[in-house]
């Protein structure tokens, strides 16, 4: 595949909850290896986009291509049919997600949290899965807690395990939804450090939703500002944070800064 082909191609998708239209004909593209930050006010649909990419929500209309293949549709004899569970399962291999509240499996130790999916979905033998898990846990600085249960970890440690767990399936695309916002202020930094390292070291494509403007600035190649399900403004971090063009963006950043956040 040529480097210039987008790995994510969103084409006029729409999504409603009941009568409330969250996304209405949204289109956007992400290049392989790009690190993208999605910012914007509460309720603007940032989480919804990630959840749609992870197939946690269905779309009402439009198309999504991941890595050249339709996500919600299957091509059969030149026709586009709604995807069945098998197609979705195959597509999900390309995508991993880390949640705001970690969502670790509380009844499994750290190691088992990381090895469960590779062993079940890829049939990786236990020994190989544990070797790889150990590497990942080392990367996020959690190797010494491999035998701990999630309940024995701090929030920051839980989130680092959740990152390792998502990486264990070696997805091409990683989605991060406000991964630091449930953490005590003092624990935020350790998670951000892991993610900065990750961004620098891998050529994975990453989408990050955050309210931490400073972090978005450091992390992203490109920033998208959302409002009411639309991309209001996009550009390099410096452009967006220092010289926002749109009034809505300016207002949003002013409010956030006034609330005590650094940009």
């Amino acid at each position: 595949m040529s480097a210039s082909a987008p790995i994510i191609k969103i084409d006029g998708i729409s999504k409603s909850f009941g009568s409330f239209k969250v996304l209405d004909g949204l289109s956007m593209q992400v290049m392989p290896g790009e690190k993208l930050a999605l910012i914007g006010p509460s309720g603007s649909g940032k989480t919804t986009i990630l959840r749609i990419l992870m197939t946690l929500e269905r779309i009402d209309g439009g198309h999504i291509q991941i890595d050249g293949e339709q996500l919600y549709h299957m091509e059969r004899n030149g026709q586009l049919l709604p995807a069945d569970e098998r197609h979705l399962t195959r597509m999900r291999q390309k995508i991993g997600m880390v949640f705001q509240l970690f969502n670790l499996f509380p009844h499994k130790c750290v190691m088992d949290n990381v090895t469960l999916a590779p062993m079940l979905t890829k049939g990786t033998p236990r020994a190989a899965a544990e070797k790889r898990a150990m590497e990942l846990l080392e990367m996020v600085g959690m190797a010494d807690k491999a035998k701990n249960m999630p309940a024995q970890l701090s929030g920051g440690q839980k989130q680092r395990v959740a990152i390792a767990r998502a990486l264990a399936l070696s997805p091409k695309i990683m989605l991060f939804d406000e991964v630091t916002s449930a953490l005590d202020p003092e624990l935020v930094e350790e998670v951000m450090n892991v993610m900065r390292k990750l961004a620098a070291e891998t050529d994975m494509t990453m989408l990050l939703v955050t309210h931490e403007m400073g972090f978005a600035h450091d992390f992203a190649d490109r920033v998208l500002f959302f409002d009411r399900g639309k991309i209001v403004e996009e550009g390099k971090p410096d452009e967006i944070f220092r010289h926002p063009k749109q009034e809505r963006t300016q207002g949003f950043l002013k409010k956030i800064i006034a609330a005590g956040h650094r940009v």
Partner: protein, 219 residues
């Protein structure tokens, strides 16, 4: 007075029948609980409807009616059960209907985020259920299962009405042989209570064993 030891033997025989009924009824109830409880959460309408009909029917009609039905009416459609079979069937199906709601509630009590984590890790529906949801839900179910088992134990007393020789029935026999009401009834009340204590003790230690390492999760 030597007679009393004989009568006490009679009551012990009854206790054995009661224990047997409770155990076999619990096994059937447990089986039905998972079958119907998970059936209610199925994607398929037919399974959901069947499970709902079973649950509402057996919770809606009284255990007595079910017992009399199993004993006196089923033979007419060609199913002739021994009193023990009829007792186990009625008790198991009845308590199973209540426990099915426990299974359903426990599975639903596991937060949506756990299901979403399964999807994000690309686990199949059954894989997620088997490795992630059920192990957590089981711990939620256990205490209520304990209560259900005690309810089942108590309900075995009504099988005496279809002349199964359980504890209560034997107490009646002893009473009619000796003319003494207080002694046999007080004795079986204590036996029932001890059995109930045994059940709740057993369930609690099982719960403790399963909760080990999960500290803080259910708080």
């Amino acid at each position: 007075m030597t007679q009393w030891s004989g009568y006490f033997g009679l009551i012990l025989q009854g206790a054995l029948v009661t224990i047997e009924l409770t155990l076999m009824g619990s096994v059937l109830a447990l089986f039905m609980a998972f079958l119907a409880g998970m059936g209610r959460l199925s994607r398929f309408f037919v399974l959901r409807a069947l499970a709902t009909a079973y649950i509402e029917f057996f919770r809606g009609t009284s255990i007595f009616v079910q017992l009399f039905w199993a004993y006196f009416v089923l033979p007419f459609i060609g199913i002739s059960l021994t009193p023990l079979q009829a007792g186990v069937l009625a008790l198991g199906l009845n308590v199973g209907a209540y426990a099915a709601e426990v299974v359903r509630g426990a599975i639903q009590s596991i937060g949506r985020e756990q299901y979403e984590a399964c999807t994000a890790l690309n686990l199949g529906r059954w894989q997620g259920m088997r490795h992630v949801i059920l192990p957590q839900a089981l711990l939620v179910m256990l205490p209520t299962f304990g209560n259900n088992a005690i309810e089942l134990l108590k309900a075995t007393a009504v099988v005496s009405l279809i002349s199964l020789t359980d504890l209560t029935f034997q107490a009646q026999v002893v009473r009619s042989q000796t003319g003494n009401t207080l002694v046999p009834f007080a004795t079986i009340l204590i036996i029932y209570f001890v059995l109930a204590l045994l059940i709740s003790w057993g369930v609690r230690s099982l719960e403790r064993r399963m909760a080990r390492g999960l500290d803080g999760v259910r708080a």
